[in-house]
């Protein structure tokens, strides 16, 4: 191991594995990977990529996570020593990363499901319980708008035994998944009831990173609560949830949902300031990686237009397609610009998925702003 690689390894090991530190770990790992390859250190290359895959997964950098984890799996296949050393951990990471597949519009639908089948095959071969990959399959199907098969996978997942040995019995993770499913199929009351232990804090994550899903639960509960007219509960949920994610570059999807909520309830000063603050953190994301955040920003601008605001100051960073150097934006034109961006991306997702689920979801969120139309 070269001196620089060793220095990086130490710094990586000394950096806490949490949302706050993922942006710091990313450049360290990206520098370490080629150095490990150059040194011919297979295990270091594997280990660095496995960490990198996890970090990218947490930062919504789907493509980078896919590249890192696929290299690891190829090495696992070729190298029994690496397989023994890793002990199956990378297969779990691969499963988790598979959840990101629907968020990359370039990935063909058939390839996504072939890959899910492959991960399930590898996990089965390694003797791993199939509950987690079944839940992931349900999630992927849901995100791709295949609601019938998603429902079947949901039932199958729920019927499989919870596995404490693999720490797959997390109440926080499950509550969030159930909440999202019921909300997607229009059963908002069921969704909120299922999420209650997560929202009131009685459900406890079995792993630290599961606790990260608590913030997703709070973000996902906002729209159902607004639709149910439970605005006090929604505000409480927003305050608690936002406190968990504010300023975190690994939580921009959740921030997008909080922006949508603030747009729906008309707290537009706060929404505009939050939008600017978090757009600045999205510099590494691709357009599709930024989709949820951009939807939130778009809804805020739409709400501004509804409130009769003609111009607004918004801190849109220079790399963003909607950037203007003056920092001052005509609200109507900005709404059109952002709307065109998110709609065209939704159409790309739908074209890949073979349905109109993503566009319908977009319209459903927009409908929270009130009956005035687009």
């Amino acid at each position: 191991m070269t001196a620089r690689l060793e220095q990086l390894r130490r710094e990586i090991l000394g950096t806490p594995w949490d949302d706050r530190h993922f942006p710091r770990l990313l450049p360290l790992l990206e520098e370490a990977v080629p150095l490990a390859d150059e040194a011919g250190d297979t295990w270091a290359g594997f280990w660095m990529r496995a960490q990198l895959a996890g970090v990218c997964n947490n930062l919504d950098l789907a493509e980078r996570a896919l590249v890192a984890v696929s290299w690891c799996l190829a090495t696992l296949d070729r190298d029994p020593a690496v397989r023994a050393e890793d002990g199956g951990r990378i297969l779990r990471t691969a499963g988790t990363i598979a959840q990101l597949l629907p968020s990359v519009p370039d990935l063909p639908r058939d390839d996504i499901f072939r890959l899910l089948d492959e991960i399930e095959r590898l996990q089965r071969r390694a003797g791993m319980p199939l509950r987690a990959i079944t839940e992931i399959r349900h999630f992927v199907l849901l995100r791709m708008g295949d609601l019938g098969p998603a429902g079947e996978a949901f039932d199958r997942w729920r019927s499989l035994p919870r596995e404490s040995s693999w720490r797959l019995d997390c109440d926080v993770c499950e509550s969030d998944a159930v909440l999202e499913w019921y909300a997607a199929i229009g059963r908002d009351e069921h969704a909120i009831a299922a999420a209650a232990p997560l929202l009131d804090g009685t459900a406890v994550g079995v792993k630290e990173k599961c606790e990260g899903l608590r913030s997703w639960g709070h973000a996902n509960a906002l729209a159902p609560l607004v639709r149910l007219g439970r605005l006090d509960d929604a505000w409480a949920c927003h305050r608690r949830g936002l406190a968990m994610v504010i300023g975190r570059s690994g939580a921009l999807g959740e921030i997008g949902k909080h922006l949508a909520f603030l747009a729906a309830v008309g707290d537009l000063n706060r929404a505009t300031s939050l939008a600017g603050q978090h757009l600045a953190l999205a510099d590494r994301l691709t357009e599709h990686g930024r989709y949820r955040l951009d939807v939130g920003v778009w809804l805020v601008v739409c709400a501004l237009r509804r409130h009769g605001v003609v111009e607004t100051d918004l801190r849109i960073p220079p790399w963003h397609p909607a950037f203007r150097s003056s920092g001052r934006y005509h609200v109507g034109r900005l709404a059109e610009r952002l709307g065109a961006g998110v709609r065209s991306l939704a159409i790309r997702f739908d074209a890949r998925n073979g349905n109109d689920f993503v566009t319908r979801e977009l319209l459903r969120e927009h409908a929270l702003l009130g009956p005035a139309g687009l």
């Binding site: 620089r4 220095q7 710094e11 942006p23 710091r24 450049p27 990206e30 520098e31 990977v33 080629p34 150095l35 390859d37 150059e38 493509e63 980078r64 896919l66 590249v67 890192a68 696929s70 290299w71 799996l73 190829a74 090495t75 597949l101 990359v104 370039d106 990935l107 063909p108 390839d111 996504i112 072939r114 890959l115 089948d117 492959e118 590494r284």
Partner: protein, 608 residues
């Protein structure tokens, strides 16, 4: 109920009336010695503390009484040593003896008396510490509350039994405690050892303490040194640290907080930020601990302090303070004191502050990542590597204003010689934590104009060639583009310093990722290959080989290209490309390895 055992009425084999816990005193003492106290030597601290508190109590009854503590050590030739500690304090009545000495956990300093600030003890377990070194404790005492009180003798034993008997004694009022060393603990009661312990624990007490004819406490406390801003005061403080703490600190910092006074010493070596902070703490001038932790904010890991507290609550082991609001407030105040001092240093003695940061920069950087105040305090003094040499961030700000940094070592290696030749100062953000700190500083201090430098900007900054120069290199560019097209690399020709450099390969984050993607595609098969194939591939726009026409070899290549030496020029271009890849630590893809093979083979065949 089937399946449940039947419950019958049988006489129990144990008492059914209420009782009291039985305490095995010896077992309790062993427990204390192993888990509560760090060393049996604490018995001296507990005896001194009881004596000081007894004198304080007597002064409430008789203001102005001159208190004194006498220690005597008897070392017979044929038996274990004995220690006798005598005070002229309040003394104890018979009832108090039973209540206080024979009841573990009861303290005279609770309740009403606990409000008085001049008591040090409060747990009622101090005397137990004496059982760490003695099997029997004899206490002779006469209460000052009653002028006719008889002297009483309390003899307690480690098996939990005790006697109280009236005795004749020369004590007018006060208490005398006799301890005879337990077998195996004789060393702890020898004269030299007791003198050292008395000095250690009681050396700063104001009451006179004597061991035989020796005055134990005759040293001024370090927090009473003259103002540390005066050189003399500072020298005294540094000398104290050297003598007492065995430390040659970089600086001494006066500390003041509510009911707390002391000094902080800047360590002359770099400790781990995760290491315990071993502070020396006194409670009303009695040494409590030499290894107290959590007294200062985490960021102040680079100092070790000596403090005296009036009001902080000691923990039961008496080696630190209870974590409560008062301690939190004091911690904040002490931290502020250290910060203010460092600010003063920045203003008045910048060289001294520079020395401190130079020693502690790694730890300070690690803390500043999480602590904005720490970052703002130290930022200007943090050393950084730049294309123009090492300097502090403050010096950089004064000399250059705007700060540009690259995030990775490899980028710095690529950019630094070119930037230096242009007189541009680029900071190497590849050092541990530095790019994170700079990004944070950019937010906290926007006027500093700190931003990341995309290495491609360096090429953009090169002067364009003239029309004539462009015409001279046109063939070279055409050949190079053809040679490198399959490698997704664009080609530019510019003139830049240093002229020894043939070329530089400029990449950005995206192109590096695309290289990884290409490399991974070559090792992956099955369903993953389908997924990776769908991801966008490398774009030449993100990777540019910039040939340096200021370099004589490149000019020669341009000449040969004009003359039509196509293969030779092409091979040289390929070589320059691979060389640039290796210099930048870019992973070589299969086709680049093949290219290297071809180039080497070509040269060998030419020579053959």
């Amino acid at each position: 109920m089937p399946g449940h055992p039947r419950i019958g009425r049988v006489r129990p084999s144990y008492p059914t009336t209420p009782g009291t816990f039985q305490v095995d005193l010896r077992g309790l003492v062993d427990l204390l010695s192993r888990h509560l106290y760090r060393s049996p030597d604490v018995y001296v601290r507990e005896l001194l503390q009881n004596a000081v508190d007894a004198i304080a109590a007597r002064r409430r009854l008789e203001p102005g009484v001159a208190g004194a503590v006498e220690i005597e050590v008897v070392e017979p030739a044929d038996g274990p040593p004995t220690v006798v500690v005598t005070d002229n304090g309040i003394g104890l009545t018979g009832t108090e003896l039973v209540e206080l000495l024979a009841t573990i956990g009861r303290s005279s300093k609770r309740g009403e008396l606990a409000q008085h600030r001049d008591f040090i003890g409060q747990f009622g377990i101090g005397l137990l510490a004496c059982f760490l070194v003695a099997d029997e404790i004899t206490v002779v005492t006469r209460s000052a509350r009653d002028p006719d009180a008889q002297a009483l003798c309390w003899q307690g034993r480690a098996d939990g039994t005790y006697d109280i008997t009236p005795v004749d004694s020369d004590l007018t009022a006060g208490t005398r405690v006799h301890l005879r060393a337990r077998t195996g603990f004789e060393h702890h009661l020898t004269r030299d050892h007791v003198l050292a312990l008395a000095r250690r624990y009681g050396g700063l007490l104001t009451l006179p303490i004597r061991l035989g004819s020796v005055q134990v406490n005759n040293e001024p406390p370090p927090w009473d040194f003259p103002a540390l801003t005066m050189e003399h005061g500072r020298e005294s403080a540094l000398a104290y640290a050297s003598r007492v703490l065995d430390l040659d600190p970089l600086d001494a910092i006066p500390l003041h907080a509510d009911g707390v006074r002391g000094l902080a010493f800047v360590l002359p070596y770099e400790p781990s930020p995760a290491a315990r902070q071993d502070h020396r703490v006194y409670l009303r001038r009695m040494l409590l601990s030499e290894s107290a932790d959590r007294l200062l904010p985490d960021w102040a890991f680079f100092v070790r302090c000596v403090i005296d507290a009036d009001d902080l609550s000691p923990n039961a082991a008496r080696d630190g303070f209870i974590e409560d609001e008062r301690l939190a407030r004091v911690r904040e105040q002490l931290g502020r004191g250290i910060r203010d001092h460092l600010k003063d240093l920045a203003r008045l003695w910048p060289a001294r502050l520079a020395g401190i940061v130079a020693t502690h920069d790694a730890g300070i950087s690690a803390l500043a990542v999480h602590d904005d105040e720490c970052l703002l305090l130290f930022a200007d003094w943090l050393p950084v590597d730049t294309s123009l040499g090492r300097m502090t961030l403050g010096e950089h700000a004064r000399r250059f204003g705007e700060l540009r940094f690259v995030r990775r070592f490899d980028d710095f290696r690529q950019v630094a010689p070119i930037a230096a030749a242009q007189g541009r100062c680029v900071v190497n953000g590849g050092h541990v934590n530095l790019s994170t700190l700079l990004e944070r500083l950019a937010v906290l201090r926007p006027e500093r104009r700190i931003s990341e430098l995309d290495p491609t900007e360096i090429v953009d900054s090169f002067a364009d060639l003239t029309a004539e120069e462009r015409s001279e290199v046109a063939d070279l560019v055409r050949l190079a583009e053809t040679a490198l097209r399959s490698h997704d690399v664009g080609v530019q020709v510019r003139a830049f310093a240093p002229s020894q450099m043939h070329a530089t390969l400029v990449t950005n984050e995206d192109s590096r990722f695309r290289r990884q993607l290409d490399r991974t595609r070559s090792v992956v098969d099955g369903p993953w290959s389908g997924v990776l194939a769908a991801l966008p591939t490398a774009s030449a726009a993100n990777s540019q080989l910039c040939l340096n026409v200021a370099n004589a070899a490149v000019r020669e290549l341009a000449r040969q290209a004009r003359q039509g030496s196509i293969m030779r020029v092409r091979r040289a271009i390929e070589l320059l490309y691979v060389q640039a890849l290796l210099l930048g630590h870019h992973p070589l893809r299969d086709r680049e390895l093949g290219l290297l093979d071809d180039v080497v083979l070509g040269f060998v065949e030419d020579r053959g």
